[in-house]
């Protein structure tokens, strides 16, 4: 089965035999992973944890050194994670810090992949990586649009999917799923709610 093919995620020699927990998924400490060792060597305590989950490498990094780690991953010796696949965030209001930035990296030469995560406080701002990968531009804009996370150094940080002037950031957990911004719609688009006794029959009276 190729589902957890080690070739694509973490190299096979670096992947210890997983203990399958009952009902859970295999999460193991990435102890002898080449990449993780290198990162730990270089950044020390800034690497909070490194695990291999479902065959995928996940490295949690302190937010302050996030940009440095990513720069190193992109252009550091031998690593060359030149393809930034995704930038997104997860909102966990119960935890501190409540937001988690997630970067999915891939190398087009070695085909290795790694996921870099970093916790970030609400209202704090992260370093933009647009200078490292151009693709981060829109991805960070979307992240800002959906979560309200500010990326410092972004050349053009404004909403991308939602219109300018929209209130709130929809992917935050406190934002309700069924929510109609009637006032915004009425003000901006000049569409007003129908009265309760509105006729939906579609028939035209002459």
């Amino acid at each position: 089965m190729t589902k957890d093919d080690p070739n694509n995620e973490a190299s096979s020699e670096s992947r210890p035999t997983a203990k399958k927990a009952k009902g859970g998924i295999d999460v193991v400490e990435a102890t002898d992973d080449r990449l993780v060792e290198r990162l730990r060597e270089r950044f020390g305590d800034a690497i909070h944890s490194a695990v291999i989950m479902v065959g995928q490498r996940v490295v949690v990094v302190a937010v302050d050194s996030l940009a440095e780690v990513l720069t190193y991953l992109k252009s550091g010796d031998e690593l060359k994670f030149d393809l930034l696949l995704d930038v997104t965030a997860v909102h966990r209001p119960a935890e501190t810090p409540p937001f988690e930035l997630v970067y999915q990296l891939c190398s087009t030469s070695t085909l290795e992949r790694v996921r870099i995560k970093s916790g970030i406080e609400d209202g704090a701002s992260a370093q933009s990586v647009t200078g490292i990968w151009r693709t981060a531009n829109w991805l960070e804009r979307e992240c800002f649009d959906m979560f309200g996370i500010v990326f410092e150094g972004h050349p053009d940080l404004r909403r991308i999917l939602l219109p300018e002037g929209w209130e709130g950031h929809p992917l935050r957990k406190e934002y309700p799923v069924e929510f109609r911004e009637n006032r915004w719609v009425a003000d901006t688009l000049n569409i007003h709610a129908l009265p309760d006794d509105a006729d939906f029959s579609g028939k035209v009276e002459i």
Binding site: F200, S201, G202, K203
Partner: protein
Amino acid sequence: MSERRSIGSVLSRLLLVDLFKGLAVTLRYNARALVEARDGADPTQAIYTAQYPKERPLVGERWRGAPKLNNDPRTGESLCIACNICALVCPVDVISVGQANREVRDGEKRKKKKVLTTFEFDTSRCMFCGLCQEQCPTLCLELTQEFELAVESRAGLVWDREMLEKGIHVVTYKK
């Protein structure tokens, strides 16, 4: 800029050979269209058109079209047991099931049973994913092969129990 040109390539460029190749393809289609049979939607023929609505397409057996509530063919009673699973599983909440506890007589015994009172299906928002039909434990709710769902008013898009049991009337045309 020194590049090699063969006489052949120069001639073919001057004589517009590349354009004529394409023109030959379309001319062949045009000529075939005049002589070949036109059975409709046959990919090997020159003309592919099926003349809907005069030729009614046969949709697949598994087609997910207009919803229908099936009745038990022996008793004529609804197969629905008002379990509400279809409403729960619907991603866009188009189904609302009305239910009531009624006393029913089963031979000598009397017992309480949950029965269906109303059933509303909003086809205007339905995305015909078929999850309701898959989850229905009694094969009552079914998405039929009927695909002409247009009506004249928005209100007509919300189907009540009667419409769902009867099915919609479809006008058929002759060729």
